[in-house]
Symmetry: C2
Subunit: 438 residues, 2 copies
């Protein structure tokens, strides 16, 4: 075998430092654009749509006359798309809707009675949400579905899409088609920090409570500054997309290599990690990667860099060790390509979206199965979930006491509030309700 494109390590020989380096793959913060973004936000806040159109001309070199897509742009978009592509979007949208309706159905209001006081919680959608989808030269209609359908299922009254314009000042037709399919006909034709600012300061009609969706560092910084000011909520920060494949000898190295290259296709910094049980298997994957890079040359530079510099294979001595590593790594996408994927999945605590068995490449979830593809990266799956219906909801708590149930709580509140030094008012606010008893 010639020089390996994929770094292959035996787990037992992997230094703690190198293992740490593989696991701690990405620090998300990039503060270098702080001031630029702050000034863009201020300009849009103070001068509105004209500032947005100016920034779009300046940064994107695109002349946009109307900030929002018109109804006729939507109609033309629909007419421009081939029927089979529309059918594919329709089918994917139906799956995504069904999966997110399953989530919504699970989130039920509930109450109980404790000592005579009724208390409970209620889920409520935010009033308004904005979904950012990158655009310009690229186009991601699938991300439009992933962002807007959960909002729609959650019951968000007003949704808007924010996306950079195409060179002709419009928006990609499939993006518009998918927005309408997801129930949204408000599209702000602006990208970057100015697009986020346009949404946040109400240029889409009203001010969103929530701005979600991945973007470049200007988008991320703009979202973080607005959230830091308490103006809105954002989703978890997005880093490079990544996959971890746990494979035993039942896996096909050709298929595993294809899934790794599929991840590398996203950019030059996408990790594709293989956790396997056998050196020969890792070597077979390596050969398949070599062949794949030779046979399928599109984005060759990105794919090669991702595989060579951000990816590796680790050969573990047992499946248990490989699964422990998967929990440590907390991958955005985790493939379990083993004889017993469901059994192995029982041991997984940390991953964004999990792909079980040999017929579940990540691309299935990216486009079609119904799960969401907006997922936590960089190990943040230890504590963040992917986008879902719950992203667009919040839980309100409530309690309804009676004179009798408050009386039963009286002594406890008196003691606790006195201990904390809040007896005079907190304590009094209970006591006063019994002072003028007849």
């Amino acid at each position: 075998m010639s020089r390996s494109i994929l770094s292959i390590y035996k787990a037992a020989e992997l230094s703690a430092r190198l293992r740490e380096q593989i696991v701690r793959r990405e620090s998300i913060q990039d503060t270098s654009v702080h001031d630029t973004v702050a000034s863009i936000l201020a300009a849009v806040r103070d001068t509105g749509a004209q500032a947005v159109l100016n920034f779009t001309r300046q940064f994107d070199g695109v002349e946009v006359t109307e900030l929002l897509s018109s109804r006729s742009e939507f109609d033309q978009a629909e007419a421009a798309l081939p029927a089979d592509l529309r059918a594919a979007f329709n089918a994917a949208a139906a799956n995504i809707r069904a999966f997110h309706e399953l989530q919504r159905a699970g989130l039920k209001d509930a109450e109980l009675t404790l000592g005579g006081t009724r208390l409970g919680f209620r889920y409520q959608a935010v009033d308004c949400a904005a979904v950012y989808v990158p655009g310009g030269k690229a186009r991601y209609p699938s991300s439009v579905l992933m962002g807007l359908i959960p909002a729609n299922v959650a019951g968000v009254r007003d949704c808007m899409l924010v996306t950079p314009p195409t060179a002709n000042g419009s928006v990609d037709p499939a993006v518009l088609y998918c927005a309408r399919l997801a129930g949204c006909e408000t599209v702000i034709k602006s990208g970057g920090a100015q697009g986020i600012a346009a949404a946040a300061f109400g240029l889409g009609g009203r001010r969103p409570d929530l701005v979600i969706g991945p973007g470049n560092r200007f988008v991320t910084e703009a979202k973080q500054q607005l959230a830091g000011q308490g103006l809105l909520r954002i989703d978890s920060p997005a880093g490079p997309s990544e996959v971890l494949v746990v494979a035993d000898d039942s896996a096909n190295p050709e298929w595993v290599a294809a899934d790794m290259l599929s991840q590398a296709e996203h950019g030059a910094d996408s990790p594709a990690i293989l956790a396997c049980l056998d050196l020969e298997f890792a070597q077979a994957v390596n050969q398949a990667l070599d062949r794949g890079l030779a046979e399928r040359p599109a984005r060759a530079e990105w794919k090669r860099t991702s595989i060579q510099e951000h990816s590796c294979a680790i050969v573990f001595e047992s499946k248990q060790e490989a699964l422990d590593f998967a929990n440590e790594y907390a991958a955005e996408h985790l493939e379990i390509c083993t004889r017993d994927p469901e059994g192995d999945f029982q041991q997984i605590r940390h991953a964004g979206s999990v792909f079980l068995g040999h017929y579940a490449p990540v691309a299935l979830g990216d486009y079609y199965s119904g799960t969401n593809h907006v997922l936590p990266t960089g190990g943040t799956a230890r504590f963040y979930a992917g986008l879902g219906v719950d992203s667009f909801l919040k839980r309100m708590s409530w309690q309804y006491a009676t004179r009798e149930s408050l009386a039963a709580s009286r002594k406890g509140i008196a003691l606790m509030s006195a201990y904390e030094g809040f007896d005079q008012e907190h304590g009094h606010s209970v006591e006063v309700r019994f002072q003028d008893a007849t």
Copy 2:
């Protein structure tokens, strides 16, 4: 009536600008301590416990010898507390546990089958969580229960409490008692940014995935910097505590005034807003506030400043207008003191915790009813929920495809991935699974 302590406005005469000023009450970001906090975080990361103890000496003037509370400190704490106070904590803890178990029971794993592919989601607790509770001169054992019990109910394996030491280098006995009651015996005796850093960099045993709980601006800034680096997740930013009381003529102005002063007892910047339907009612509340301030002088300066400078009454022409205002205000605590509190609550979309009826002062939820008192402030209840079991969980998605179900998805994925320019690898990763069919 002498000069009013409470500003009273008629809604119809309230200028748009003043209304906006009342509603947009707090911008949460305070970046002035950014550099100080960054250097504290770096020092603790690089030199560990010694740096924490040094900062504690420097900032708090307290000599702490061991960073973590010992078992004997816990035992002594329990022995030091009067039995009736322990009983009060036990009863409150039982209510809090029951309410949060209701939340946990609602979050069920689920799956469905779409086109032959099984897909679903699973809730999983984070491995490790840290709860910050302010301390030093003050003591908030109730907040210990509110932070740790939901974590315990969620199934978090490792929890730790972070709290500033008392003057003698230990921790308030009720704080230790409540920590143990909530199943946590790891207490980091350090406050401020150094306390957060001590937790984040593993000085409590392991690195937390989640750090929650309100603190001063150093605490908030430290949490935000660590979250920005993708190291952990934090809860929503906490501003001054606040109440909005919606009252009709069935309400008792004396009780409403007591609830407003109870809010003002928290600090000099706590808004207490009254939305009522009658000028005479507002004036009666104003008189009760005056009397209350005269009769109950503790923290008089804080209470007076909060009522005079951050609070007001607005007299609406209809209950509907008052409820609309409540949604616009999105209060941390919302009291509905009307004839039909449950009916009126149906119209509320935005609030942290809602108190229904005349016998539900905020103090009931602060201490005893079982709902959580860690809640979104400053209008962020439009998009954040209070602390709950879900704060300590995340949702993992999964899919399990078969050869047949992937085949059924093949054409759709091919079309969509080609449209997005990902056909060569994303598309191929599906196709390759059908190439070597026998």
